[in-house]
Structure formats: structure tokens, C-alpha cells
């Protein structure tokens, strides 16, 4: 049975002609990271400085992305937010990736009680709607970046566990594994050296799109009042707070939205490129 991970992983194009996905996506990301590092330093504005003379100004030469309802420069905030959102997106996706993959690999390879334990845990976590679980955990832990990481991590590791376990199960039944065992290779060596390199790619591919999903989840948490603490310039919060001003200040919510789209596109292209690179066996 395929999973959300597989559906997003499989969905990527697997034709050699798409090598440029890796280059374009990678370049976009490099550009983003550079902007995130350099932008706030270069900007003449403090992302949190209020200026009540400049409330909700439309984009102009002085404020290329306009100002928000406190008179803060939106471009500076979007650039400052880039670092925050990349950090949130990557960290909140990487930890469940590591944790889930390890557990999934162990479950798939060692089987028996390890498998039962891991899979029943997976069942418990999938029995609660993803977003409700995240919201409940954040409500419990309180607001803030770290707690959002924890909440998303707790809810998301199951996807990776299921995905990697499936791949490991598939690999395990292949001939080369039996051959290795016959030759006396230790199980751990087979797992680490041979099975994992073939089993992980779909998880890695999903990771690239998971980063975007994580940023979106954080945005939705902001919508419900469970997001990062203000006045942090996080894109999701900016979109959520800015939606009040769609009619008299559309740029406040839309600019971070474009930033999100850009980042999403970068990661999707990157993911497609990685899939292309790693996928050798036709499926």
C-alpha cells in the first residue's frame, strides 16, 4: 500500500531529460539562502521597527514590498523570515526523517517484535488526524519555534518509518541480500552498506517536499493562533496576520506567499532532480 510519501516521491518525473531540475532547484535555493543571510544586513530597515507614519504603504522605490500595518518594511521582513522558515522547514523535516527512517529500517530489516512495536506505534499516530495532533501538542507545549518542531516531528516521523520500512522489505527479498548472508556478511553490514543506500532515496525525495509541507503547517498553526511568537517575521504568521488587510494592503500577505511559492518550487525541482539522480531501477 503506498503512502503519502510514496505518492509524492513517485510523482516526480524520472526521465533523464530532467537533469536540469537539480540545477535549477539547487540554484534557487542557494539564491534564497544568500538572500536570507545578506538581505537583512544590507537592508536599511529593522524588521521590527514600527513607523506609524508609513502604515500600509503600497510597494514603492523606498519600500519594494510595501509596509505592513505597523509600518514595518515587508521586504526586510520577508528576507528575515527566509532564514526562519528555512530553519523551521529543514529542521522540522530532517529530525522526523532521521528518526523515522531509523525506526522504519529496523522494523523492516529485523522484523518480528521490532516490526510489531514500530508498526503499532505508527498505527497509533496515524489514528489521529495529522493536523489535530500537531495542534494539540503545540497547545500543550505552548507557543514558539522549538515546540512547533517537536509537534511536527512527533506527528510526521510515521510517514518516513512506513516508507523506509516498505523499501527495506522490498530490498531484503532481493537476491543480493541472500547472497551476502550466504557469504557470511554480518547483518548490520548488509543493512547499512547495501540495503539502506537503495531504500532511502524515496525518503530523501519526500524530505524535499516535506520541507515545504512543514512551512505550510506552521502557517496554518499561525492561522489558528498557535504559531511562532510575534513579532517573529515568519512567513506563515505574516500570511495569517496579513489576511486582514487583503483589501487595503494586499502586499502584506501576498509577498510572503510568493516567497513560499518560490521556496516550494525550489524544493520540488530539487526533489525531482534528486529522484532522477538516485532512481536507477525502473519501477
Amino acid at each position: 500500500m503506498s503512502t503519502l510519501a510514496e505518492e509524492l516521491a513517485v510523482g516526480s518525473a524520472v526521465r533523464p531529460r530532467f537533469h536540469h531540475g537539480l540545477a535549477v532547484g539547487g540554484a534557487m535555493l542557494v539564491l534564497l539562502v544568500a538572500a536570507a543571510l545578506v538581505g537583512p544586513r544590507v537592508s536599511p530597515y529593522d524588521p521590527n521597527a514600527h513607523d506609524f507614519e508609513q502604515i500600509l504603504q503600497a510597494p514603492s522605490a523606498v519600500h519594494p514590498f510595501g509596509t505592513d500595518n505597523f509600518g514595518r518594511d515587508v521586504l526586510t521582513r520577508v528576507l528575515s523570515g527566509a532564514a526562519i522558515d528555512l530553519r523551521i522547514g529543514v529542521l522540522a523535516a530532517v529530525f522526523p526523517f532521521l528518526f523515522g527512517s531509523i525506526l522504519g529500517a529496523a522494523a523492516g530489516y529485523y522484523g518480528q517484535w521490532v516490526d510489531t512495536l514500530v508498526m503499532r506505534s505508527v498505527d497509533v499516530f496515524t489514528a489521529v488526524p495529522f493536523f489535530v495532533l500537531v495542534a494539540a501538542i503545540v497547545a500543550f507545549l505552548g507557543p514558539g519555534e522549538v515546540n512547533i518542531f517537536i509537534a511536527i516531528g512527533v506527528a510526521e516521523w510515521v510517514t518516513y518509518a512506513r516508507l523506509v520500512r516498505g523499501e527495506v522489505l522490498r530490498e531484503r527479498s532481493l537476491d543480493y541480500v541472500a547472497a551476502g548472508r550466504a557469504l557470511g556478511f554480518p547483518r548490520s553490514r548488509i543493512l547499512l552498506g547495501h540495503i539502506l543506500p537503495n531504500a532511502l532515496p524515496p525518503a530523501v525525495i519526500f524530505l524535499t517536499s516535506d520541507v515545504v509541507l512543514t512551512i505550510l503547517t506552521t502557517a496554518t498553526l499561525g492561522f489558528l493562533g498557535l504559531g511562532v511568537r510575534p513579532p517573529t517575521p515568519e512567513w506563515g504568521m505574516m500570511m495569517s496576520e496579513g489576511r486582514e488587510f487583503l483589501s487595503n494592503g494586499w502586499w502584506v500577505a501576498t509577498m510572503p506567499g510568493f516567497a513560499c511559492l518560490y521556496t516550494g518550487l525550489a524544493f520540488i525541482l530539487l526533489g525531482d532532480g534528486v529522484a532522477d539522480l538516485l532512481r536507477v531501477k525502473g519501477q
Binding site: 514600527h50 502604515i55 493562533g225 486582514e244
Partner: protein, 514 residues
């Protein structure tokens, strides 16, 4: 093969039905109903319609269409009008009040409203351990002298008594219907004597009310059906109004008022209210136990800037802790001006060294609390006070506040009665709420508060409350921010809509034109 065909067929059918659904029967029917139904969109759903146990505006404002009291507050919020009682008087010693009920009031089930119903309802209000028990604390006994006369004797002369008796929790219910009834029935099956009666209630979705056929005012309500619809998202609620789905909405954000005013089909209202926004300071621990530090914070607060950021100019910077429309509000009081230099001076005198960090607790996802918090952080930063913002969900924030686990808390107040005693006792008298949970305790203030409750002479009372307001400013356990109006937006077709200063809407005179 067949399965693929089946899927395709299903998909096409769904698509067809969607297109057909663009003009369903429902829309034609609603066009005809436009004149006989009022549709009103609200941002919070009613949960409990029992006057005695509820404690939220959406509940109150909904059941005031259904229930009446002996006496009611007037629209402006500064006096009283007859409701179920046609006239009333009190004895020379001020301890006995007599209410003469009108003879033609009837509940929606046809039963006449009798003094016995009033006695039973008020006794229930007084004896139930609900949030409004305080309103009848001064009452010694309630008697029905005859079928249409209610006599209430007080423990001592009580200045705010008329205000207390007009409180919505003292609504009159039919004893026959509710005596021995289950708790849930009080909420789910209200029966009142007001202009409307409840017909259907889809919880968390819509309240449907129809005209009370036995209501004594002829031709009232002017429109026979009222639907109160829950639309929590601000944007959606405004779009529902702009597209004609509803005839009026409550709480459009301040930022949208100008835009709604410009719309030729709509009318944006800023109704006078008894709302005041303020900060509660936990004076139990350092550095907030230092009065000079608190005064410094008060001077460092640029109320005009907050009004700009939060209310887009539609609020009034506050001076004293009482809402502007409260009787005995001191119009001459200057409050705290914005003076950063004076603030720094006081900070030095206080002995607190900067930078100092304070935690600001507030309810997240609140349209006004968040911008207030962000603005304060910026402002107090100039004084060297670093505010750490702590947005928590409503239930958690309330819990922390009630348990005194906060340093600074953003909150507000709405008067329920047109009298300063309710707020004064709550905000500055330790016994009720530990003074807004600030821990403020002053013997001088307690004495003034007690005097204020008992002084019958209005002029003398005025002086007492002026003193109370000044003392509150000097001791500064609260930092008062601004007075805000209620925001409402209605279609120009909706005529006769009234919102009372205490908050409730009046739909009985509303007509929806063409």
C-alpha cells in the same frame, strides 16, 4: 475497463451536478424570503442560553431577544426604562423596592407573566452558584405581594440596586416550565416573554428565532424571523455581507471600517460602548511591586499610537479606568500623558535597573490583543523594558490569569450595568478578583469602594468615584489603554438596528427593505 468507465462516469456526473448546482432551488426561495428574515453573521457562536449560568457576549446578546427583565437599561446606557415592570418605587429608607408588573405580558407559550414567575426567577438567580450571583447579594428577600406586584427587600440601602436588577442574568422565566427542569433545558429550550422565541438551534452553526405571537407590543417584532449565523473568519463574514448572504455582521475588524464605509450598499457603525482595554500588572513581585516603576510604564505607553495601530484611529485613548459612558466617569481627568522623559525619570527614581525583562501574556488569535502586544513591545523597548510576548490560547491564558501566573496581562472590560460599582469593585477591591488578579490591596481604596456602594446621594457619590479614579491612577495597578466602540456593519437595506451601549443588539425594530 469497466472500472475505468465507472470512475469516469462518476466523475462526469459529479461535474454535471456541480454545474447544475450553480442555480439551485435554494437561491430562488431565499430571494423571496429576503423581506421576512433577518440574517445576521457573528464571530462567536452562542453556547448557553440560560441567563443565570452563561458568561459570554454571544449568549447574552442572543437571549436578550427572548427574555425580559423587570427593568431594562436604556440604549445609551445611562438610565433605566420599564420592561416587565411598568413602574417602580422604593421606600424612604431605601431598603424596600416595589415593582408593578404590566398586566399584558405573556410568555411565548401563552402563559401570562406573573409576580410569582419573577420571584422564582430572581430567587434562582440569587441562589445558583453562577457567575452573576453578586448582582443580588444585597437582596434580603423577594416576595410577590399579589399577582402583579413584586417586593424586594435589601439588607441595607444599596445605590446600584436598580442597575443590578436590570442585569440580564435577572431575566424572568416561567416558573411552571422550568421548575425542576434539567440544567440543559434551561439552555436548549428557553421560553421567554421577549419579542422573539427560539425555534431551531443548530449548535455552532445557526440560531433561528421567530416572533413571539404573544408579545405585548403591537407590530413588534417588525420582521418575523431572525437567523444568527456563526461565521468565525473575519474575511468570510465580511464577504458574506458584501455578497448579500447576510444582512449584517458584528465585529468587522477596525482595519476594514473605512473600506466598508465607502461601500454604497453598506453602513459601518461604531457604536458607543462600555468597553475599555487595559493591562493588568501583577504587583506581587518585583519589579512590578514598585509603584514608581508602574507609573513609568504608564508614562511610556503611547496610547495614541496604540489606537492607530490597533483601532486604525477608531478608538479613544483612555484616561481613567472607567469606560467613558459610565456614570461618574471623570471627564476632567487627564490620565497618563505619553511622556518618555518623565517615564525615564520615574524609572531612575524607582531604582530598577534596565534592561529588565517582563512577560506579556495575552490571548492568541485575538484581533486586538496581538497588535496591542506587538506595539507595547516596541514602545516599552525604548524605556529599556524588554517584553517577551506570550500568546496562549484562550483557555490556557484564562487559567494562568486566574491563577495569578503572569506579569503583564492584556485584557479588557465591558460594563454590564450602568454603574461604576461593578468595575470598581472588581478592578480595585481585593476580595472579588484580587483586583484584576494584580494583587493590589489598599485600605484607602477599600474604604472608598465601600462608601461608594452605600452613598445614595448622587453628587456625593460622584465625588467618591472621582476620588477612586484618581487613586487608581496614582497607584497604577492597571495601565489603561483605550476605549473602543463596538464595530458593526450592516446592509443599507437593514433599518431599525440598534445596539445598546452595554452591548446587546435589538432586532425587534428591524426591517429589511428592498
Amino acid at each position: 475497463m469497466r472500472i475505468a468507465r465507472l470512475v469516469l462516469a462518476l466523475v462526469l456526473t459529479a461535474g454535471l451536478m456541480t454545474l447544475v448546482g450553480v442555480v439551485p432551488e435554494g437561491s430562488k426561495a431565499s430571494a423571496q424570503q429576503a423581506k421576512t428574515v433577518i440574517k445576521f453573521g457573528v464571530n462567536r457562536a452562542a453556547e448557553n442560553l440560560d441567563p443565570v449560568t452563561q458568561d459570554a457576549n454571544p449568549d447574552i446578546w442572543a437571549f436578550t431577544q427572548i427574555y425580559q427583565q423587570l427593568v431594562r437599561v436604556n440604549v445609551k446606557g445611562d438610565g433605566f426604562e420599564p420592561d416587565l415592570a411598568e413602574k417602580w418605587s422604593n421606600s424612604a429608607d431605601g431598603r424596600t423596592w416595589t415593582f408593578n408588573l404590566r398586566k399584558n405580558a405573556k410568555f411565548s407559550n401563552g402563559d401570562p407573566v406573573k409576580a410569582s414567575d419573577a420571584v422564582w426567577s430572581l430567587k434562582r438567580a440569587r441562589d445558583t452558584k453562577g457567575p452573576w450571583k453578586w448582582a443580588l447579594e444585597a437582596v434580603e428577600d423577594i416576595q410577590a405581594k399579589d399577582d402583579y406586584t413584586v417586593v424586594i427587600s435589601l439588607k441595607e440601602p444599596w445605590a446600584p440596586f436598580l442597575a443590578d436588577i436590570s442585569l440580564f442574568s435577572n431575566s424572568i422565566l416561567p416558573e411552571k416550565v422550568f421548575k425542576g427542569a434539567k440544567d440543559e433545558d434551561f439552555s436548549n429550550k428557553p421560553v421567554g416573554s421577549g419579542p422573539f422565541m427560539l425555534v431551531d438551534w443548530k449548535k455552532g452553526e445557526e440560531l433561528v428565532m421567530k416572533a413571539n405571537p404573544h408579545y405585548y407590543e403591537k407590530g413588534i417584532p417588525k420582521t418575523a424571523e431572525l437567523r444568527i449565523r456563526y461565521i468565525p473568519d473575519d474575511n468570510s463574514r465580511i464577504i458574506a455581507l458584501q455578497s448579500g448572504d447576510v444582512d449584517g455582521i458584528d465585529y468587522p475588524p477596525f482595519s476594514r471600517i473605512e473600506e466598508l464605509r465607502k461601500d454604497p450598499k453598506l453602513e459601518a457603525q461604531l457604536n458607543p460602548s462600555t468597553q475599555v482595554s487595559h493591562l493588568s500588572l501583577n504587583t506581587r513581585e518585583a519589579p512590578l511591586n514598585n509603584v514608581k516603576f508602574r507609573q513609568a510604564l504608564a508614562y511610556a505607553t503611547d496610547r495614541a499610537a496604540i489606537v492607530k495601530a490597533v483601532c486604525f484611529g477608531h478608538c479613544t485613548p483612555a484616561t481613567t479606568f472607567l469606560p467613558m459612558t459610565t456614570p461618574f466617569f471623570n471627564k476632567g481627568s487627564k490620565g497618563y500623558a505619553y511622556d518618555l522623559n518623565k517615564a525615564k525619570q520615574l524609572l531612575k527614581e524607582s531604582g530598577i535597573t534596565t534592561p529588565v525583562t517582563l512577560k506579556l501574556l495575552y490571548r492568541s488569535n485575538d484581533a486586538v490583543h496581538q497588535p496591542t502586544a506587538v506595539t507595547l513591545k516596541e514602545m516599552w523597548g525604548k524605556l529599556g523594558v524588554n517584553l517577551e510576548l506570550e500568546p496562549l490560547d484562550r483557555a490556557t491564558a484564562t487559567q494562568r490569569y486566574r491563577a495569578n501566573q503572569f506579569q503583564v496581562y492584556v485584557t479588557g472590560w465591558t460594563n454590564d450595568i450602568p454603574d461604576p460599582s461593578q468595575l470598581a469593585a472588581y478592578a480595585l477591591g481585593f476580595t472579588e478578583s484580587e483586583s484584576y488578579h494584580s494583587g493590589y490591596k489598599s485600605a484607602e481604596m477599600d474604604a472608598l469602594l465601600a462608601k461608594g456602594m452605600r452613598e445614595i446621594n448622587p453628587e456625593k457619590r460622584r465625588q467618591i468615584y472621582y476620588e477612586i479614579q484618581e487613586l487608581a491612577l496614582r497607584d497604577s495597578p492597571l495601565i489603561i489603554l483605550y476605549y473602543s466602540p463596538y464595530t458593526i456593519a450592516i446592509s443599507k437595506k437593514m433599518k431599525g438596528f440598534v445596539q445598546m451601549a452595554t452591548g446587546p443588539w435589538l432586532f425587534k425594530g428591524v426591517t429589511i427593505g428592498e
